[in-house]
């Protein structure tokens, strides 16, 4: 019997698996297609203080090995999220698993430091006032390539990043995960900025900035012109970032990027991840949640690991 529990910066997860923000709606959309009992947490789509309309259409393009998207963080505001979305998640997923829904990592963003802090504070207050609610951790998105104000502008400079993290830290007692971009020369200064700012964990990686051009129309395929590349093809790039970050920090890492099979998730764990998110794969194969989980269990059995947490950083030599 493998102990599947992991602790992601204070967030207790029954398994190391969660979902990548933006690929799993607000958590309840996949009832009937995903086995939620295999998820240690779900990660919700990004929310901010007020609802946000996102980008014009088209918002995505299939490419070899993955997907380029520029959804642009369309999403609900924090009030609607707490009044409607969270209770609905708890009820519908709770019913599906015949028990308690997995804890929710709430992805947050804003157009200013104050907005980030405000949404963090509102979620914190809710969590304190509603013990046992799904709201269990925050994932601070400083790396979305698809919105102009906010998002990645806070994640490009370590000093600005550090200031943002510190402000959000003051606003919440929940485990604070910071989601970083892969397109940096060296992840370490960004890792340190998060660490010094008081983050509890890191999420690596966001999509890779990308673009697809329709050569017949001679126009970008996406209305936003550029987008973010996700999917199977980016996995080796993500493993590298996780590996570098793991050696630079004691903060636990939530790894994501191109996980399609158990092998991919195990690579992330060995590179240094404490938990792993499935993202783009869910669109094609929601059954991957169970397949990856089962494959991780059998890998642990085969290799003599008694708990999944032992996989973290367990490279030889």
């Amino acid at each position: 019997m493998i102990d599947t529990k992991v602790n992601l910066g204070g967030l207790e997860m029954a398994t190391p698996l969660t979902t990548a923000s933006g690929t799993f709606g607000y958590g309840s959309e996949y009832v009937g297609a995903v086995d939620y009992s295999k998820l240690g947490a779900v990660t919700a789509k990004g929310i901010r203080v007020d609802a946000w309309p996102g980008n014009p259409m088209p918002r995505h393009c299939e490419v070899p090995g993955g997907l380029v998207n520029a959804i642009g963080l369309q999403g609900t505001g924090v009030k609607h999220f707490l009044d409607i979305t969270v209770p609905w998640y708890a009820d519908s997923v709770g019913e599906a698993v015949d028990g308690k829904a997995p804890p929710m990592i709430v992805n947050i963003w804003g157009g200013s430091v104050d907005e980030y802090a405000e949404v963090a504070r509102r979620l914190d207050e809710y969590a304190l006032a509603n013990p046992g609610s799904p709201v269990a951790a925050l994932e601070c998105n400083v790396s979305c390539p698809n919105v102009k104000a906010g998002g990645h502008t806070f994640g490009q400079d370590p000093a600005i990043l550090n200031g943002l993290v510190a402000e959000v830290r003051k606003a919440t007692t929940l485990p604070l995960i910071v989601k970083l971009a892969p397109n940096v020369p060296d992840i370490c200064p960004y890792v340190k900025a998060c660490e010094d700012g008081g983050a509890d964990a890191l999420a690596l990686i966001n999509t890779i900035p990308a673009m697809v051009i329709d050569i017949e129309k001679r126009k970008p395929v996406l209305a936003n012109r550029t987008g973010g590349l996700s999917g199977r093809g980016i996995h080796p790039a993500a493993v590298k970032v996780v590996y570098d970050a793991y050696r630079a920090t004691k903060l636990p890492i939530l790894a994501m990027g191109g996980v399609y099979e158990a092998k991919d998730a195990i690579e992330f764990m060995l590179a240094g991840a404490t938990a792993v998110a499935l993202g783009t794969v869910l669109f094609t194969d929601p059954g991957a949640v169970s397949d990856v989980y089962d494959g991780m269990v059998s890998y642990c059995e085969r290799h003599g690991f008694k708990s999944m947490s032992e996989l973290t950083g367990a490279l030889e030599g």
């Binding site: 690929t23 959309e29 789509k45 918002r59 997907l67 369309q74 669109f283 094609t284």
Partner: protein
């Protein structure tokens, strides 16, 4: 919503470029309503390829019928799936047509857009609804007029239109539609419009609904990623903002749609 493994029972070419796919889906079939769609994993595509959405042509006796046109890489790859193979299909998905109607039911389809309208016509009749049921089928040319025999066998009023006049009236499917709308309005009658097809046709039908203060039910066709409401890629502008075709749609009330 289910993710069902479905055996292929029939996979035939109906006309050049159009195919009928019938799968065994005992769990999903009884839950499907007209206008809903299913999300199909195409076996011949690479592991990272997205699923493809298809609206449902019919669902009965534990079987799901899909009528599709080969338009791109995904449908071309689906062509290779053989009878006896298994398809992984998620469904039922989305909001379909209301299976009821106040006044004459005017169903307007273009190309493979007739698929959900046939399902609707069947279910309207099966529901015991006794009103006037007229179906308007359009296409560029004769071979684009699909399911004509199936509609005939339902005993519905049928109006055909082709751009080149190779079958039915020469012109747009809205030409015979307009004639009937005028007659109904002159007689003081009521009607509802149900449409599925290319965007310009849908817009034309929706404007006829709003313009006459009639109800219109418009099935939008958008590229999708997840099909279940998780990703927010398949957006349709509505009076409520950016709505998801896969959840709030694919069938929208005409008065809710915002055309750009």
């Amino acid at each position: 919503m289910l993710n069902e493994k479905c055996e292929i029972l029939v996979h035939d070419e109906l006309a050049a470029g159009y195919r009928l796919l019938v799968v065994k889906a005992p769990e999903m079939a009884p839950r499907l309503v007209p206008g809903q769609f299913v999300h199909v994993k195409v076996p011949a595509l690479e592991k990272s390829a997205l699923r493809r959405p298809f609206s449902v042509f019919n669902a009965e006796d534990g079987k799901v019928y899909i009528l599709y046109k080969t338009v791109g890489r995904g449908t071309a790859a689906l062509n290779a799936a053989k009878v006896g193979e298994t398809l992984e299909i998620i469904g039922p998905l989305g909001h379909g047509f209301p299976v009821k109607c106040d006044g004459a039911a005017l169903l307007v389809g273009g190309g493979y857009g007739v698929a959900p309208l046939y399902f609707l016509a069947k279910r309207l009749i099966a529901s015991g609804w006794k009103g006037r049921l007229a179906v308007f089928v359009g296409g560029r040319t004769k071979t684009d007029l699909l399911a004509v025999e199936e509609f005939r066998s339902l005993g519905v009023e049928l109006y055909l239109a082709t751009n080149d006049g190779s079958e039915g009236v020469k012109g747009l499917v809205t030409d015979p539609l307009d004639d009937e709308i005028i007659k109904i309005r002159e007689a003081g009658g009521k009607f509802e419009l149900f449409a599925c097809g290319p965007d310009p046709m849908l817009k034309a039908v929706a404007l006829r609904a709003t313009g006459t203060k009639s109800k219109g039910w418009i099935s939008m066709d958008r590229h999708m990623i997840c099909g279940v409401g998780a990703c927010y890629a398949c957006i349709q502008k509505t009076v409520r903002g950016n709505s998801r075709c896969c959840v709030e749609g694919p069938v929208f009330a005409a008065e809710d749609l915002v055309w750009e």
